[in-house]
Each structure stands twice: as C-alpha cells, then as structure tokens.
Symmetry: C2
Subunit: 193 residues, 2 copies
DNA sequence: CAAAATATATACAGACTGGTCTATATTAAT
DNA sequence: ATTAATATAGACCAGTCTGTATATATTTTG
C-alpha cells in the first residue's frame, strides 16, 4: 500500500484522540486539523464525506485498537475472568492517567450520533461485536457453555461501558474495578470452577 | 412556591429532551429556546450561568425523574431482581418507541462534560448515587448482605448504562433485556433464594 | 518528458454558536 | 401611587461551525 499521503494517518489519530475527550459535536474540524498539522484540503481529500466520514473512520480505528488490545490480553491470560480483570486494570490506569478525561474511545461519539448516522453506527456495532467475540471465545475455550458465554460476554462489555461513565463522574477507578470484579467472579463460577 | 415565571419549567423540559437526543454540544440554545417558546432573555434570567447551568439543571431534573420512577417500581415489586427486570422492560419499551434515539437522559451529557464541568459532574454523581441507593435498599430489604448489596447495585446501574449504549448502536432492545436478566439472576442468587 | 492522477494548501462563504445588552412589561412591596 | 424586583422580549456581537472553491505541488503513468 505504502505511498498513501502522509496526512491521512495523522488526521485520523488526532480525530480519535479528540473525539474521545470532547465527543463528536464538541470537536471541530479546525481542531483536528491544527492538532494533526494537516490543511483543510487534505481532510476533504481523504474524507470526502466530511465530518461524518471522519467520525466513522475514527470509531472504526479506535474499535480496532481495542480489539487488538483485547486479543493480546486474551493470549496472555488463560481464563476469561483474568482477561476481564486485566483489561479493567488497564482501563483504570488509563483513566487515572488522563484524570478521567479519556474514557471509552467510541462511547461518547456513538451516544451522540447513533442510530441516526448510519456509517458511524455501523462502525460502532462492528467494534462492539468484535470485542464481544474476544470474550466469548475466551469463555468457550474455558468450557463455558456457548449460550452462556455469549450472554456473559455481552454483559462484560455492557458493564465496562457503563462503569466507564460512572468512573468519569466520580473521578475514581472504583466503579470499573468493582464491577469488573463482580462480573469476573460470575464468569469464574460459570465455567464451573 | 407558585408564582415563578412560566418559562423556567418549559426551558428545562425542552433542555432535558434535547440533551437526551442530541447531547450537550449538539444542542444549541436557540433550539432549546424555539422548542420551549421562551425568548433568550428569560433563559439568561433563570439560568445566569448560561449553558453550563442549564446542563446541570437538566441532568439534575432528569436524574430526579429516574429516581422517582425507580422508587415507584421498587414499591410495586417485592424483590430487587423484579425491580431490575421491570425497569429494564420499561427502558426497552421507551427505546423502541423513540426508535433508539432517546437513551439514558444523562449519560451523553455526562460523557461530553464530565469531569471538566464541575456543576454538571456533581449533578450526575448525585443522580447515579440516588439510583444506586434505590437498588441497594431493595436488596438489603431482601436480606442481601449490605456489602454485597452495594456492589451489586453499582453493577446494576453500570450494566443498564452500558447496555443502553449497545442498544442504540444495534437498534435493538436485546442488550438491555439480556444483560438485565443476567444481573437479575445474579441478584436472586445473592439473596440466597 | 508530458499528461494525469494524487495530494497539499488556503481563502472564503453562509449559517449558527453562546453570550451580552438594552428596553419593556408585569408583579410585589411600601 | 411609587419604587423596586421580577420577568419577558429580541436585537446584536464576535467568534466558530462545516463545507466549497480554486490554486499549487507532488507523484505516478504513458
């Protein structure tokens, strides 16, 4: 692929970071441009669909990053509850480091735009589906019955998303760690340990 | 109290409804004004702090509405799991009716503004705390150990918030109902049934 | 080397933003 | 009735928003 222009990537990176902190409506294209160093022409060259297309691309990119992180953690830990605990710990650390400003990289944008904006909604659905799949697979591999694995995986994702909101409001990692722990125990018992 | 000007209430109602659908940054004061029928002067008369103050008041008002709903449901159902199921069903119906446009009335605004905006963050923390309390009390009343009641109550809130995001993206009530059911079963077992 | 595609760079437009300001009603207190 | 407080009304401002248009580089292809 290689010789794609230098600015596509920087625009996307800036967009992901800004959308995460300020949300979709709260982030102006000018801000993305100045943080990325790209001129406006490049933006509409790479994303002719304008802000909507950047939003969808950012959700997709951020979703992919999380998927990769989860897969790496799944490799490193041999039980689904360990995976969940490890990811929660990582989120907690990240939240603290950003002083509770950078939560889920896609939740805010999705709440602002879904289900009206089709492309963004689709990108979000794909991301959630991938994340869920990682948990689901980890559980099946630990001999959780498939049906149960699916619903527990969705619960894990929902819990993480929700506790990230609480965490921001309370300026504390407690909600993340505590909720994850409760679900982790539930998962552990589901695989008949 | 009585003779407060007629427009304070209409402004607040419009703000709650618009923030819920479009988020904080996505809602302009002009929109709130036109939906409420009030002129700009009234807005700054009642909310001299401008948009931030309206945001905080809207979060507080919406939070109070949910609290009242939860308390009513807690009265009507005699177990915490029944309370959760009933509330989830109500949310699911509401989401469907709004075609997955109106989710949690405070989550979007909070993700956009917390923890930077102090007053809004505080209003959100108070709301979550009240909601949690309703679940916590219901569980304690059903002889769930206090410590466990607290963490399960927070899990319930986190799960609801998270599944409302998933629900919007998937344009389906499934995530709400499914996650709530899983947590309901967990609660049921926690009170030693 | 020339033509074409790709990419970069700004200037600009029209609408909308939150917020301030001043003027005018309306109600309450003296 | 007069003063004071409360409330309503909308014009206005400076700044920002997304998006378009046009011009110039840079690379790739024939």
């Amino acid at each position: 692929m290689a010789p794609t222009g230098k600015h596509r990537e920087t625009i996307l990176t800036a967009a992901v970071s800004l959308f995460r902190r300020r949300g979709y409506s709260g982030t102006g294209l000018a801000e993305i441009l100045s943080e990325s160093g790209a001129p406006k022409g490049s933006l509409y060259h790479y994303f002719p669909g304008g802000k909507t297309e950047i939003g969808a691309a950012a959700v997709s990119a951020a979703g992919g990053q999380v998927t990769r992180t989860l897969k790496a953690l799944a490799e490193a830990h041999d039980t689904p509850e360990a995976l969940l605990r490890a990811y929660a710990a990582q989120l907690a650390a990240w939240m603290e480091q950003s002083q509770w400003r950078s939560g889920c990289p896609i939740a805010t944008v999705l709440l602002e735009t879904a289900p009206q904006e089709d492309r963004i909604t689709k990108a979000g659905a794909d991301a959630f589906s991938e994340w869920t799949r990682v948990f689901e697979d980890a559980m099946i591999q630990s001999s959780v019955p498939p049906e149960r694995a699916r619903s527990l995986a969705r619960l894990a994702i929902a819990t993480i998303e929700g506790s990230l909101i609480l965490s921001r409001v309370e300026r504390s990692s407690d909600p993340i760690l505590s909720s994850a722990e409760t679900v982790a125990e539930l998962i552990a018992s589901a695989r008949g340990r």
